[in-house]
Every structure is written in structure tokens, then in C-alpha cells.
């Protein structure tokens, strides 16, 4: 057995893992560690620290990861404390994105905990003078099975020492049937402190001596400063300091209210950019751009199959820009002094952002300590990283810790948007209603767009006065562009536009939502053309038994009556139109499987759509925490209903005009339907993430239900009353 008697942990129970000698390959964009001490530490008091470079985004993943560790290590759940997203303490796991934390970190922590358990048993074997196979473990105590009085605890073996071991991946893991913590709805660890007001969000963080800053932004990145009247804030209470570099303007004060007042009152004139297409011209502008073509699938002979088809269908669907619209606008605190920096931020990518902000601060990454502090739910790449960049610039200039709080309007205008896109599908049916051709095209800017280079951060561009360069990325739009259906003669082509009128980046499910909206709406159009029940039609092309089971489970729960759409039913003689619609997808084609069924009521005079019931069946493999999964599904459904029914970032030639909750409304309590969930647990299958899958099927399920109710096909998100009414008349 390796000597575990390494150095005792430094303050906080841990040394800088970068000195741990793990031999990890440092990379700017995420890495994994095979060094056990990078993942787990057992404290002298028996507490187990588990480390992850991922972060909690409000999904409950901190609780689920702690369950995995407690289970595999055989310790009480309460003794596990997750330490997440701190560049000095946790392994570099890149970004928390893509519903991957359970898959990647969960798997890594399970292997680490199994390795630790094996090592502890071997150490206990020496200490207790008994063979490993004579030992049992319960709640962090190892006993000789036949002499239960002879025992030793994990803390007694390890307390404060390092394992000095690699995670080999060879240590035996528990069979799922032995689980007693995983698979249970353990209450979330953070909710008690949330309801008491003690939970510290980034917006709540107080760093001694910090100044409060507000930004005074141009209407758009392309706008140029014409004049600034410093006297406009001279009479205000304060003192308020004005910081200006090019188009980057901030007001800073000891008191937050003084900074807010100054930001409101500072007289600044901007020259409008005037070069945006506005909502009206958006989709033509997108399709008119030079595009990088990427063929994801081409079975050959698609054109010929379309020519030979008995019926051809053609449809264009559009997805607008949408906002992450976090309830708490972005905030960050930076303390850049001398050759050291500490940055507190709600970023989803602590290590990658550290490296970018180190460039901005002009120092090497080792001198920058980045600490994740939770923010309001972000759902992808919102303003969090940029607020941190703002704070770095200001703290570096002023030599004091600076807290930057974005306003509501800052967040709406300056957060990167979920990309707009255009989908065009042509399909062919033969005489019997069988699909014989499927030609899918998507025009989209990149979904993933986090600058690895400081000079292209919006903060830097405001300072330099440059406009944003075209993104070097073309990624994320492929998600669910291909279906899981087996019909033949398919072609799927992406057209990555070279640029985007508005800055875009990752928003929950990336292309998954828009592609599934296109694919599953078009499947419904094909089913209607074939005169077949939408579920029966889909099942003809779906071989995967897990996928079929999910669809059938949803249909059963919804008491789906097989019949073709539209049904054109009414609540009464003069009543609203009622209908049902379904959609199915396997997230990223190999992750969680979802089937959604929406029931709607459409007011035929106003065009208003009310979703009255929403059923979701989901198979995410092994379920770690059933209530946590349900919480995520409910959240996905409600948010994606809001996106489908209401959300579109409005903009004109000069600027974004969706700047608050009135100009960017989201679903309210009175509009939220009951959500019924069927979970299909597959303990023998790998656990996959649930943070996004139930988002992707919603828009198509609702559009299909509107069609069933009214015969009107909604191909443009959001399905506003005006658009529905226009279709009816």
C-alpha cells in the first residue's frame, strides 16, 4: 500500500492543487485530473470535501454530486461538502454546460470515491490486521465483519492527509441495486439558507473596502461616443468618480445609490450605429450572409427521392433571438492590486475565465484567483463573465476592490443572446404516406461563443472602440439537427452564418430547441399530410425501444386518443378551440429521451393560446435524485413554454429595444399549466443530465397542439396572439 502520510493540508484543509504533482496537462479550455487528491479530501473531523471545477447553477447539482460521493464512499450524506468552481482549490473542468455535470463530474467523483474507498480498506486492513475481504464499511467506519468492536474510521486513517494516489478507474463501484443514497429524493442542501436569506449570491458578496460601480453603456457596441458632459453629475451627492476609456464609461462611488444616480444622470451623446436589420429584416439578413456549410448527414439521392415523391412538403421555421433573462442582473467583484488578482463571479467557466481575465489584468493565470459565487439562474452564457471583466478593469485602475452591478437594461442589451435561426425542410411522402425523403437546412450563427482572447471581450472592445470581429467559432447548432428516426434518404445541412446582427452565445440546449422545433413540427406536418395519428406516424420510424417506451408512457399519461390532426374541436358551440400535440427527441441524439404532450385552448377571436396541461415522459438513465429531476423538468417546461409563447428580443436599426420585463415579458403564474411528469428509471444505464432535455420538445408540442385545435400551423416562434390570429383569419 502506498504511504498516505503525505503533507498535511494547508489552510482550508488543502494545498494548491497546481502543486500537487498530478502531472495534469494544463490547458486553457478545460482538462481532467486523474489525481485522487484533486477530487476528494477526508478531514480530521470526518467531513468529506469533494472538489469540482463545475459550478452550481441553481439546478441542484451540488446535492446530486454529494449523493454520488456519499454513496460510493459509504459515508453519511451530511458529511459530504462540495467545493466547486474555485481556481485555487478545484480541478479545471472547463465550463458547466450541456447538462454534462452529472455525466462528467458525477462519473469522475464516483471513480474517485471508489478509489478512495478501496485505498481506505487497504489501509484499514493494515491497521486492523485483517484481510480486506473480512472488512465492512458503514458510515465512514470500517469494521472487521466478525469482530464489529474492532473498527477504525476514515478520519482516523486519513484525517487531513493526502491519498497521493491516481484514480485508476479500476476500483470496484457499487452495483446500482446496492444504492441507498443515489436514487433517493434527498432534499437540496442549499434551500434552507435560500429561504432564510443567508445564501450568498454574487450580488450579496461584500468585500471589505469595495467600491460600487455602474456602467454607462452605448446603445449598441457599434455606437460611438459623441460627447460626455461631466458637469451633469458634478452636483450629485458622492463623491462619484467617472472612469472613461474610449466607449467604456463607469461611475464609481462608496455608496451604491450614488453610483446608480450618477449613471442615470450622466449626460452622454452617442452616434447610433444604424446598421442592424431590425426584427423585420432579421431572417433575410441571416440567410443572406456568407455561410460555412457543414453536411451532418447525406444518404445520397435526396433530390431524386424528392422528385419521385407522390407528395412534397416544404416549410420554413424561424427562431428569434432570445434572452437568458436571469432574474438577477450580472454582478462581479474584482480586487486587482499589485501583481495579484482575486475575482468573484457567477461564471459557468471558472478556469477558462480566469485565463482570459488574467490577460485583461496583464498577469499570468497563476496570479489570478477566481472564485465562483452563485448568481441567479443563468441558463448558459449570460452577462456574468463580462461583468467580471468590467470589474477587473475598474479595480485595476482604482487600486481597490470594485463591485460592478449591471442594471436590468444592461443585462437585456449586453448579455449574449440565444441565436436566431432559420430552418427550411423539404420532405417527400409516397402514395402510402411513407416518408421517402427529408432535406433539412439550418441557417444559424454560432451558439457557443465565449472569447478565449481578452481583446475580444465586450469590455475590451468598448475600450478600444473596435467593433466585434466575426466569431471564430461555429458550434452548437448541430445539436439535434439530425433526428433519431430511421426513414431513408435524409440530408441534414448546417449553414453557419459568418456573423450575427446581435452577439450570440450558449443558451439552454443550444440548437436542440430550434432544431427540434423544426424537426418535430415537420414530422407533424408530414403525419397530417399522410392522414395519420402523429404518434403512430412517429413510431413507424423509431426503432429504439427506450425511445418508444418514452413516447408510449407520455401517451398513456395524457390518455392520448389516436386520430389524425387537425381535430378542430371546440369547448362548446361558441367556445375556444382545443387541441393536443406531441413532440419527441433524444437530447443530442444520445442523451436523455423526452416526449412532451401539450394540450391547448386557443381563443379564436384574440388568437391567445393557453396551455392547459403539459405531460412529459423522460428517460435519463439511472436517476440520481428523482425530485431533483422533476424540479429540472418542471423548470425546463415552464421556461421553454415562455420562450415558445412570448419571447423574442426586439431590436431596430440602432439598438435592442427589449430592455425590461414589459418589453421582454416572460410567463407568469397565471399562465403556467399543470405539468405531469413520468420518469422512467433505468438503473442499468448511465446517468445523463437533465438540465436541458425537456426544453427541446416544448415549442413543437405546442405548435402541433395549436394546429390540432385550429388547423393553423405556427412556424414562427413565439406564438403570439397576433400571429395566431393572423393565421386564423
Amino acid at each position: 500500500m502506498t504511504d498516505a502520510g503525505g503533507a498535511a493540508f494547508a489552510k482550508g484543509g488543502r494545498e494548491d492543487p497546481r502543486k500537487a504533482g498530478s502531472g495534469r496537462a494544463e490547458s486553457a479550455w478545460g482538462e481532467t485530473s486523474t489525481w485522487l487528491d484533486d477530487w476528494l479530501a477526508i478531514q480530521p473531523d470526518g467531513a468529506v470535501l469533494a472538489f469540482s471545477g463545475k459550478v452550481e447553477l441553481g439546478t441542484g447539482v451540488k446535492t446530486a454530486l454529494a449523493q454520488i460521493v456519499a454513496e460510493e464512499l459509504d459515508v453519511p450524506f451530511e458529511s459530504v461538502r462540495m467545493v466547486m468552481g474555485d481556481t485555487d482549490l478545484t480541478p479545471n473542468e472547463g465550463f458547466t454546460a450541456g447538462s454534462m455535470t452529472i455525466q462528467s463530474t458525477g462519473t469522475a467523483l464516483r471513480a474517485a470515491a471508489a478509489e478512495a474507498r478501496r485505498a481506505l480498506l487497504e489501509l484499514a486492513s493494515d491497521r486492523l490486521d485483517a484481510a480486506v475481504n473480512e472488512l465492512t464499511v458503514e458510515n465512514g467506519t470500517i469494521r472487521i465483519a466478525n469482530h464489529p468492536d474492532r473498527s477504525i474510521t476514515y478520519a482516523e486513517i486519513m484525517g487531513g492527509r493526502r491519498f497521493n494516489l491516481q484514480v485508476t478507474g479500476q476500483a470496484p463501484v457499487k452495483p446500482p441495486e446496492a444504492y441507498r443514497i443515489v436514487g433517493v429524493s434527498v432534499p437540496r442542501v442549499d434551500i434552507p439558507r435560500i429561504v432564510s436569506g443567508e445564501h450568498v449570491y454574487i450580488q450579496d458578496l461584500v468585500v471589505p473596502g469595495m467600491l460600487h460601480a455602474r456602467l454607462v453603456r452605448p446603445p449598441h457596441l457599434g455606437s460611438k461616443l459623441v460627447n460626455i458632459d461631466e458637469s451633469s453629475i458634478r452636483e450629485l451627492p458622492g463623491p462619484v468618480q467617472l472612469v472613461r476609456h474610449g466607449n467604456f464609461i463607469a461611475v464609481v462611488s462608496e455608496r451604491e445609490e450614488h453610483a446608480i444616480q450618477a449613471a442615470h444622470q450622466l449626460a452622454v451623446g452617442w452616434q447610433m450605429a444604424g446598421n442592424l436589420p431590425g426584427n423585420q429584416g432579421l431572417y433575410d439578413a441571416l440567410r443572406g450572409q456568407p455561410a460555412q456549410e457543414r453536411v451532418l448527414l447525406d444518404e445520397g439521392g435526396v433530390e431524386r427521392a424528392l422528385e419521385g415523391a407522390a407528395r412534397r412538403l416544404h416549410a420554413i421555421y424561424t427562431q428569434p433571438y432570445q434572452a437568458h433573462a436571469s432574474i438577477g442582473p450580472s454582478c462581479a467583484v474584482a480586487d486587482v492590486r499589485g501583481d495579484r488578482a482575486t475575482i468573484w463571479t457567477a461564471t459557468a467557466g471558472p478556469h477558462p475565465l480566469r485565463d482570459v481575465l488574467a490577460q485583461l489584468a496583464g498577469m499570468s493565470p497563476e496570479r489570478v484567483h477566481l472564485v465562483n459565487v452563485e448568481g441567479a439562474g443563468g441558463f448558459g452564457h449570460n452577462g456574468a463573465d463580462d461583468a467580471a471583466a468590467d470589474a477587473v478593469v475598474l479595480s485595476k485602475e482604482l487600486g481597490r476592490p470594485v463591485r460592478v452591478q449591471w442594471s436590468r437594461e444592461d443585462e437585456f442589451i449586453w448579455e449574449p443572446k440565444g441565436p436566431a435561426g432559420v430552418i427550411e425542410i423539404t420532405g417527400g411522402l409516397d402514395e402510402t404516406g411513407q416518408i421517402v425523403a427529408w432535406d433539412y437546412h439550418l441557417w444559424s450563427p454560432t451558439h457557443v461563443n465565449r472569447s478565449p482572447v481578452a481583446q475580444f471581450l465586450p469590455t475590451s472592445l468598448l475600450i478600444s472602440g473596435q467593433t466585434a470581429p466575426a466569431s471564430p467559432f461555429a458550434f452548437g447548432a448541430e445539436r439535434n439537427a439530425r433526428t433519431n428516426y430511421s426513414f431513408s434518404k435524409q440530408r441534414v445541412t448546417l449553414h453557419y452564418t459568418s456573423d450575427s446582427p446581435l452577439r450570440t452565445s450558449a443558451f439552454r440546449s443550444l440548437g436542440g430547441a430550434e432544431n427540434t422545433f423544426g424537426n418535430e413540427s415537420f414530422m407533424d406536418e408530414m403525419a397530417a399530410a399522410a392522414g395519420l395519428d402523429p404518434i403512430e406516424f412517429r413510431l413507424r420510424y423509431l426503432d429504439d425501444p427506450r425511445g418508444r417506451a418514452v413516447i408510449q408512457a407520455a401517451a398513456e399519461r395524457a390518455r392520448w386518443e389516436p386520430r389524425p390532426s387537425p381535430g378542430l374541436r371546440r369547448t362548446g358551440p361558441e367556445g375556444a378551440a382545443i387541441g393536443r400535440g406531441m413532440a419527441y427527441a433524444q437530447y443530442e441524439n444520445d442523451q436523455a429521451i423526452v416526449a412532451s404532450i401539450a394540450e391547448v385552448e386557443v381563443d379564436l377571436s384574440s388568437g391567445a393560446v393557453r396551455v392547459t396541461r403539459f405531460v412529459v415522459a423522460q428517460d435519463c438513465g439511472l436517476i440520481i435524485n428523482p425530485d431533483g429531476v422533476k424540479n429540472q423538468i418542471e423548470g425546463n417546461v415552464i421556461q421553454s413554454l415562455s420562450r415558445a409563447l412570448k419571447e423574442e428580443v426586439r431590436f431596430d436599426q440602432d439598438r435592442i429595444t427589449s430592455v425590461d420585463w414589459e418589453s421582454y415579458p416572460i410567463l407568469k403564474f397565471s399562465e403556467v399549466p399543470e405539468v405531469e411528469i413520468v420518469l422512467i428509471n433505468r438503473p442499468d444505464q448511465r446517468a445523463v443530465g437533465v438540465g436541458e432535455p425537456a426544453t427541446v420538445t416544448t415549442a413543437a408540442a405546442v405548435a402541433n397542439a395549436i394546429f390540432d385545435a385550429t388547423g393553423v400551423r405556427m412556424r414562427q416562434i413565439p406564438f403570439t396572439p397576433e400571429r395566431v390570429r393572423a393565421g386564423i383569419s
Binding site: 441553481g58 434552507p192 436590468r408 424540479n631
Partner: protein
């Protein structure tokens, strides 16, 4: 003059240094260290900053300390009595009625005001009452269940 203002928060008088036209939210957060009320919009559109003024739920992001005067203000923290969570807070834990939790404090305040006024509100009444409180994570259904549960916890024994 700064320092002249005294406000009544969570059962105690506090002398504050802010000017009378300062929104209550910043005084609560920055002078009194009470972070239960959150900054969400500054426009009275989202409810994240809600506090009780008397028994009424009010957004605190535009309401000034001068306007509040001596009226009793209760924040999320002030609902806790002798270290015991308020029944509405307990109900939110029981129903696991949060995701990111940023809007939760405002929801709890609004629900408390509702239940003081209407001990057993219908589903429709709860939804109407909470329509001014926005949640981006989609915790609505759990919050609705939590408010119903809170009604039982608060009044369950007292109701005939």
C-alpha cells in the same frame, strides 16, 4: 441631513445615513446587511426586492426610505422568530420550491402577505397574487404548492 433618518426594520429602530430619497432596498442591503431582498430590476416589475411594510408586500427598489418613515418593515430575515423559520419559509423547504432561489425571498414575502389577508386562498387567488413576482427557473408549480402548504402550517389548527 444624513444620519437623521430612523427606520423600523424587523422590530428594531435603525438610524441610517442614507438620504431620504434613497430606495429602501439599498439601505436594507448595504447599511443593514439584510440581503433577503434582492435587486432584480429596479423598476417594480419583478418582485425580487419585496418586503413587508406593515402587512403589505411592497417592492423596495423604488420606495424611498423617506416614504417608508416609521412604518414597520419586515424582510425575509425578519420572518424568522427566535431562530425558528416562519411557516411560509418551512413550506418552501418542504416543497423544495426553488431552483436558483434568487426570486424566492420575494415570493415568500408576497405569499406571507397574502396568507395574512386570506388564510386559505384558492389556486387562482394565489396565482393572481404572485403574478407580479417573476421566476425565470420555472419553479412556479412548487411555489404554488408551497403557498398551499404554508396555509396549512399557519392556519391548519386554527381553522374550524
Amino acid at each position: 441631513m444624513a444620519g437623521d433618518l430612523v427606520i423600523n426594520v424587523n422590530g428594531k429602530s435603525h438610524a441610517v445615513t442614507a438620504a431620504p430619497d434613497t430606495p429602501l432596498l439599498y439601505v436594507l442591503r448595504n447599511e443593514l446587511g439584510l440581503h433577503g431582498p434582492k435587486y432584480g430590476c429596479g423598476l417594480e416589475q419583478c418582485g425580487a426586492c419585496m418586503v413587508l411594510v406593515g402587512s403589505e408586500a411592497r417592492n423596495s427598489c423604488k420606495l424611498t426610505v423617506g416614504e417608508v418613515g416609521q412604518a414597520p418593515v419586515t424582510t425575509l430575515e425578519g420572518l424568522i422568530e427566535n431562530g425558528e423559520l416562519h411557516p411560509v419559509q418551512r413550506a418552501f423547504i418542504e416543497e423544495q420550491a426553488a431552483q436558483c432561489g434568487y426570486c424566492t425571498g420575494g415570493m415568500i414575502i408576497r405569499a406571507t402577505a397574502l396568507l395574512l389577508q386570506n388564510p386559505e386562498p384558492s389556486d387562482q387567488k394565489i396565482r393572481a397574487a404572485l403574478d407580479g413576482n417573476l421566476c425565470r427557473c420555472g419553479s412556479h408549480l412548487r411555489i404554488l404548492r408551497a403557498v398551499k402548504r404554508a396555509s396549512e402550517l399557519m392556519w391548519g389548527d386554527a381553522q374550524p
